[in-house]
């Protein structure tokens, strides 16, 4: 510990940290990890905080502070693989004369994110052959490529020569079954993005497909995952152990992400905001300033980033994940009680 003999030591004691050394990640010397810590609900409620940093329909960044990594990780894992979403699962191919093979075409269609809110649907029973209006969405894709009749003279661009030479996800048409038309609006079930290229075609090529979307979870197939990715990182912390000035300060600044280190009017470097540092640890490359910094990360401060695929907003996905964890816990407790 003598290595980090710094004035900010007192601050260091408060938060659990992991130190990013030059060649490895190291826990603080008398920190034996969360496994040894006693869980106290009181302490937890006092410390635990959620701060939403930014959010829009597709992406959200929020902080989870004062929680064990097992929980944070559980949420991450649940969002990736157990929060359900709708995706095209079955493709009935009535006609496919394009150059894309049937299986590949079906695979591509499966990966198209759908807007349909999975909370409004049920899982389809394993042995059911016919879908119902509660568990199935049906679409069709019927495209035929033809020569463009109103040809622009001397143009050899395919978009001028042919009609429908590119098949996009926007061409997928929804066919409501049962009462679906009154429950859902067309705009709420179709593909999230209309510009996903499915296939390229030439005159004579034709697609006539019947698509069936069902509800599923990410651990079954990645297409059911509601997030592009959901992950977290620990809050970085940079502490300067000595004064760094002049050219060294400039150098120090370049070693971190922009905005992390600032230089004051005296030419002295100071840590402005370590949050958005990417922890590249490039300071260790320079012997002259290597000793001036201690890089660490706060072990119980998780900065989550959830990127939704589009069906649900990221906050919903997170709360769904929490619900799943809750249900799992309940389930476990019930099981234990029956013992």
């Amino acid at each position: 510990m003598s290595k980090y003999n710094i004035s900010a030591m007192s601050k260091l004691e408060e938060k659990p940290r992991v130190f990013l050394e030059e060649f490895r990640v190291k826990n603080a010397p008398n920190d034996y990890g969360f496994a040894d810590e006693k869980w106290s609900f009181k302490k937890f409620t006092k410390k635990f905080r959620i701060i939403i940093v930014r959010m829009n329909d597709f992406e959200m960044e929020f902080d989870l502070i004062g929680i064990q990594p097992a929980f944070a990780n559980a949420f991450r894992r649940l969002m990736l693989s157990e929060v359900p979403s709708m995706a095209i699962e079955k493709v009935a191919i009535r006609n496919n004369t394009s150059i894309i093979q049937d299986e590949v075409l079906a695979h591509r269609l499966g990966l198209i994110p759908l807007k349909a809110d999975p909370r409004l649907f049920e899982y389809r029973a394993k042995d059911s052959t016919e879908g119902t209006e509660f568990d199935t969405l049906e679409f069709s894709l019927k495209v035929k490529c033809t020569n463009n009749k109103t040809q622009i003279k001397d143009s050899y661009r395919p978009e001028d020569l042919y009609e429908n030479h590119c098949v996009y996800s926007s061409q997928i048409k929804w066919h409501p079954i049962g009462n679906q038309a009154s429950v859902h609006k067309e705009i709420d079930v179709g593909p999230v993005h209309g510009d996903i290229l499915i296939s390229k075609m030439r005159p004579g090529h034709e697609l006539d497909l019947h698509l069936v979307a069902v509800k599923g979870i990410g651990s079954d197939h990645a297409k059911f995952s509601p997030v592009a990715t959901a992950s977290y990182r620990l809050l970085p912390e940079i502490i300067l152990t000595r004064e760094v000035t002049g050219s060294d300060a400039k150098l120090l600044q370049t070693c971190f992400s922009p905005g992390v280190i600032d230089i004051d009017s005296n030419g002295r470097a100071f840590v402005k905001d370590a949050r958005y540092d990417v922890c590249s640890r490039n300071v260790y490359k320079y012997d002259e300033i290597k000793d001036a910094v201690v890089l660490s990360r706060i072990r119980d401060h998780f900065i989550f980033t959830v990127e939704s695929v589009g069906a649900m907003s990221p906050d919903v996905i997170f709360s769904e994940a929490v619900k799943i964890l809750r249900d799992k816990c309940k389930c476990l407790l019930e099981e234990l009680n029956t013992l």
Partner: protein, 1134 residues
């Protein structure tokens, strides 16, 4: 290196000689320019073009007249020969132009007619007939007569051909065949070697008529001439006397009159005196007595004396390539003298022994020269057949005069050529040549494997022999043959591959060269005596192994020749080089020499300047212009050895350097060129990658969807590698890639990654990583039989009771052929074909309905179902109906599938992990693949680590980095780029465990690496069996996966069980689980009894049943059939 540069600079400044030579920017652009002219398989195409346009005419001219013994007036004279354009024969004398793709699909041969203009005698008239068909020539794709030459990409697409397909192969009966480049020792050259301790000088002479080998060897301290046509060795002095050099002094003057030579020759001369041979006639008589007795004496030879025969032999067979006119042997005697001189020299100076592995002594035979040998043989046979027909028919009196044209059958030459190419057996009777495996089926596993095959060089050495000499890398292979690309195992070092810029010469005419040499001061040797020839100031000049003359100013001669060549006044591929030890100058214009272009350096300055390259960039200068302007020239291996070649500009020494390398990465071949940073890898790793690149699946050509191959592997989403090389761009690998960029984390995970196993991310697989398509085809023809019956296809059969189509026939359409798009399961019928039971006995007339048929359906075999991609119905060359069905499978990576990076690091999938279990980094990136770091220390594939780094930096910049050999993006630059984008400069990132969610203690090296999916997949290999089929003869389980065979408990396993003493287990495994059989044995006589009755004892009293292996019973019966009676002694088991 830095130090060296410093020194150089110091030296320069002190001497003040010159400015340091600036490196020419973009000099490498000469390489694509070169390849644009020549293409990647130029050697094959050039050679074939030379054959069909020039050599075939020469061959026909050399055999232009056919006479007939029956009629002295009769003759046929060939005036000219042509090879036409590719067509197909459709019916009698009706042809239609064809395309290679049609031939591939319809199992036809891509060939063109060979026509000749002839003049012959019909009756008493002289008739000239033009365009007479005499055979068909298989055409090489993209050769001068092929429909694909000089076509634009659009036109090629219309012909269903891939614009990147290199051509250079043949299509015989629908199969793509390559004639491999054959390497052999050069002919008509003296080669001094040591054979069993004795020095010998060997010459393999080869002319159009003959191929013979002549040796001068040391035997008991004397020099003798050895030849196959002679039963005994001839003392060298006798040979000289037989050639008309009768005086001993003359002999000595020819060989050399220095003391050493005289001393060594003295016993030989004495020998000759002892034999009492003093005149030419005596010598010829002596040789005549040593002739091998001919088995078949022709009419001519009977009336000839041994002296005549010996003289003839000397003139035409011994050293056949030295032509003798009017029995004037003088030139041949000089040649022989030089051979003796070489032997004498080598005896005292071991350095004078030639290295047979030296590449200057090698010649490469290509498709053209091999085909010309085959064609000449067939043409001679064709003429001989015409002659014998003429001899048979002319004496008969006929109404119409004998017209030889009616007897010209084109089948002989056509089928001969087709059969040779399709089997690869090259049998040439007149040279007693019999070679196997000359051709191979073009491997279409990936684009690179096809390309790699076109550059392959096969050597004539036996593969089983354990010799190191011919296998090891020869310094003279530098730049000509790829140092990395060779197979492992038996073919190691014997099968080689051409480097990127290698060109193989085709023959060019000798006459103008000989004339030029004379003008440049070469004196004819026939006018000179031995003393003058051997004068120390004089260099002997050879042209293609023949003595041309002597020159007193050899330097001037060489300078003049090179100047003429650079001016383009003689062929660019003529090479001239001196040998100072032998005091000779060699001029070569023969075919099959390896050569490669170099930039000429004069007075320490490369002639190619920046302006030239700028002009090249602007497209106003082509590679040919560099040649014609004398800026670049081709050097063959021998001339290369006489030059000082600098690899980079900095190495140029103004006093000695003569040439500059165009670009160092061209020393590698096509396959090794795929490896990024190969100069950072341990050398065998590059060799491994060369072998594995050929097994990688990806794309094989733009026309892959139109092909119906028996087996084809495609990747669903192939990618261009993040780290490219110049070679990748030159070979168009970036347009026809075979692999995907996987984000790799180098760490250990779960223990399922030991022994090079890889961990894959399930989500990556779900999103399409490593997904591949496997195409297989089923094929059948409807044959017609001699008894007017033929095969037929029937519609689906129906179940008699229910009336439903039976399951096996579910897929069939009404026409009896499975429909496209259907799913095919194991044992389902694809084509419901039936065949008549009797195909030979003629069907009784009037009742054709009564033909009986048996079912021979084409069924699908395979545990995993396939889909029918397409069905082709056509007819083949025999006009039979041809049906091909293309079947498709889409395969997703599974545990056990093989992957490999481009650094010879292969591994199988050990575990597929859910995305949430994978480690992730600060940016939320999960790797696609985890690789164990233990793969690095022992393999030393530093190139792979650099590829990862450069790939990662490239992703950030949005550009491709280059890992070109001996160049490419520098690690420091790449690291700086990474740093710029906020990544660690080491390429190591902070990762969190996906399982615990905590930080991993180590920083993980991660980034994109190009991974190839190899064709070895578990689905094709997995096999297990409980019960199953048995072999008929032995009743033991069958062998092999394809026959659903058993798993053998082998000898070693058996030994273990014996050692352990597990006798009951042994009994069960070896007998009960295999071929247990209850045999009846007669206890009285000990012989096998049949059905509890002993035939020998005529009783059943002592017969008891014994369990034994069926193989044992079989052995007893087999022995009995050979009159050996094995007897068993039975005892009561207590």
């Amino acid at each position: 290196m830095g130090e060296l540069n410093m020194k150089n600079k110091e030296w320069e400044s002190t001497k003040g000689l010159r400015e340091p030579i600036k490196a020419i920017e973009d000099k490498w652009k000469l390489v694509p320019s070169f390849l644009q002219v020549k293409g990647l398989v130029k050697q094959h195409i050039d050679s074939f073009n030379y054959f069909i346009n020039v050599e075939i005419k020469k061959i026909v001219q050399a055999n232009e007249k056919v006479f007939c013994d029956a009629d002295p007036l009769f003759y046929i004279k060939y005036l000219n020969a042509y090879v036409g354009t590719p067509d197909l024969e459709e019916g009698f004398n009706v042809t239609k132009p064809t395309t290679p793709h049609e031939c591939r699909l319809r199992d036809m041969t891509y060939s063109a007619p060979i026509t000749v203009d002839i003049e012959y005698i019909r009756g008493n008239q002289r008739v000239i007939k033009n365009k007479q068909l005499i055979g068909r020539m298989p055409l090489m794709l993209r050769s001068s007569n092929c429909v694909l030459t000089n076509k634009s990409d659009f036109e090629l697409a219309q012909l269903n051909e891939c614009p990147h397909d290199p051509g250079g192969y043949f299509i015989i009966r629908g199969q793509e065949k390559v004639i491999l480049i054959q390497e052999q020792l050069s002919r008509n050259r003296m080669i001094v070697d040591e054979f069993k301790g004795a020095i010998q000088c060997q010459v393999t002479s080869s002319t159009h008529e003959k191929k013979t080998r002549t040796n001068v060897i040391v035997k008991n301290g004397k020099y003798v001439l050895r030849h196959n046509a002679l039963s005994d060795d001839i003392p060298i002095a006798v040979a000289f006397k037989a050639m008309g050099i009768c005086s001993d002094q003359e002999i000595m003057q020819l060989i050399g009159s220095d003391d050493n030579t005289v001393k060594k020759m003295a016993p030989c001369i004495m020998d000759c005196h002892n034999l009492k041979i003093f005149t030419q006639n005596q010598a010829l008589a002596y040789i005549g007595s040593k002739l091998k007795v001919k088995r078949f004496q022709t009419v001519n030879s009977k009336c000839r004396t041994p002296v005549d025969e010996a003289r003839d032999l000397l003139a035409t067979t011994i050293l056949a390539h030295v032509t003798v006119e009017n029995y004037n042997f003088y030139v041949k005697a000089i040649y022989l003298a030089i051979m003796v001189k070489r032997v004498i020299e080598a005896e005292s100076n071991k350095a004078a022994i030639d290295d047979p592995d030296y590449y200057g002594n090698k010649r490469l035979e290509l498709a053209g020269s091999l085909l010309s040998l085959m064609f000449e043989d067939l043409f001679k046979r064709f003429n001989w057949e015409l002659k014998s027909i003429a001899e048979k028919i002319i004496p008969k009196v006929k109404a119409a005069p004998f017209d030889v044209v009616k007897h010209m059958r084109p089948d002989l030459i056509a089928n001969g050529l087709f059969a040779a190419i399709s089997t690869g057996n090259w049998t040439i009777k007149r040279f007693k040549m019999e070679r196997h495996g000359v051709t191979q089926v073009l491997s279409r596993l990936s684009y690179i494997s096809a390309l790699g095959m076109m550059t392959r060089v096969n050597s004539q050495f036996e593969k089983t022999r354990k010799v190191s000499g011919p296998r090891s890398l020869q310094p003279s292979q530098w730049g000509m043959l790829c140092p990395s690309d060779t197979p492992e195992g038996e073919g190691c070092g014997l099968v080689k591959n051409l480097a990127l810029m290698t060109h193989i010469t085709t023959e060019c005419s000798e006459d103008p060269i000989a004339r030029l040499a004379c003008n440049a001061g070469v004196e004819d040797v026939r006018l000179l005596g031995g003393e003058e020839i051997n004068h120390p100031a004089v260099y002997i000049v050879f042209l293609n192994g023949n003595i041309l003359g002597v020159s007193r100013q050899y330097k001037r001669l060489i300078r003049v020749f090179r100047m003429f060549r650079r001016r383009g006044l003689i062929s660019a591929f003529v090479s001239i080089y001196p040998n100072h030890n032998q005091r000779t100058v060699y001029i070569c214009s023969d075919g099959g020499r390896l050569c490669r272009p170099y930039i000429i350096v004069e007075k320490g300055c490369p002639l190619v300047q920046q302006i030239h390259i700028n002009e090249l960039n602007r497209g106003i200068r082509k590679f040919q212009d560099f040649l014609t302007d004398g800026l670049i020239e081709y050097l063959d291996v021998n001339e290369e050895n006489d030059s000082h070649i600098a690899t980079v500009e900095a190495e140029i020494d103004p006093y000695v350097t003569t040439h500059l390398e165009i670009e160092p990465f061209t020393i590698l071949g096509v396959c090794a060129g795929l490896v990024p940073y190969p100069h950072h890898n341990q050398s065998p790793r590059n060799t491994y990658q060369c072998a594995m690149g050929k097994q990688a699946m990806g794309t094989i050509g733009y026309n892959q969807k139109n092909r119906i191959d028996t087996l084809m592997y495609n990747l669903v989403y192939p990618q261009c590698p993040m780290v490219k090389t110049k070679t990748i761009e030159l070979t168009n690998f970036d347009k026809l890639p075979a692999g995907q960029n996987a984000t790799v984390a180098v760490m250990s995970y779960s223990g399922y990654d030991i022994e090079d196993a890889l961990i894959l991310n399930q989500a990556s697989i779900d999103r399409g990583y490593g997904r591949c398509l496997v195409y297989k085809s089923a094929k059948t023809t409807m044959k017609r039989y001699s008894n007017q019956t033929s095969d037929r296809i029937c519609g689906p059969s129906r179940d008699a009771s229910t009336g439903k189509v039976i399951r096996a026939h579910d897929l069939l359409d009404a026409d009896g052929i499975a429909a496209p798009g259907e799913m095919v399961e194991n044992r389902q019928v694809l084509i419901n074909k039936q065949m008549p039971i009797a195909t030979l006995t003629p069907v009784p007339q009037g009742q054709p309905q009564q033909v009986e048929y048996k079912e021979v359906p084409i069924t699908y075999k395979g545990a995993v179902e396939s889909y029918i991609e397409k069905v082709m119905v056509s007819s083949n060359s025999e006009d039979a109906l041809l049906i091909k069905i293309l079947l498709r499978q889409t395969r997703v990576p599974e545990i056990g599938d093989k992957f490999s990076s481009r650094h010879g690091q292969k591994g199988v999938t050990g575990l597929i992990v859910q995305q949430e279990d994978m480690p992730f980094n600060d940016r939320g990136i999960c790797p696609d693949m985890i690789m164990n770091p233990h793969g690095f220390p022992s393999r030393m594939t530093v190139g792979k680590t650099i590829e990862l780094l450069a790939g990662k930096a490239g992703l950030m910049e949005g550009k491709f980095h280059y890992g070109t050999a001996f160049g490419g993006s520098k690690v420091t630059d790449v690291c700086k780029e990474l740093e710029k984008h906020g990544y660690n400069y080491h390429g190591k990132d902070i990762f969190y465990s996906g399982l615990t969610g905590e930080l991993l203690e180590a920083y993980i090296y991660s980034g994109p690496v190009y991974y190839q999916k190899l064709k070895h997949m578990v689905q094709d290999k997995m096999h297990a069996r409980a019960r199953g089929p048995r072999a008929v003869l032995t009743r033991q389980p069958t062998e092999g996966r394809s026959r659903d065979g058993g798993l053998r408990l082998g000898e070693m396993e058996r030994d273990c069980l014996i050692g352990y003493g597990a006798s009951m287990l042994l009994m069960e495994r070896l007998m009960l689980a295999s071929d247990a059989f209850s045999a009846d044995i007669c206890g009285a006589c000990g012989r096998l009894a049949s059905r509890a009755w002993c035939h020998a004892c005529r009783s059943s009293a002592a017969v008891s049943t014994v369990d034994m292996p069926y193989a044992c019973k079989l052995l007893f019966q087999e022995l009995a059939s050979m009159n050996i009676v094995p007897k068993l002694t039975l005892k009561k088991y207590s």
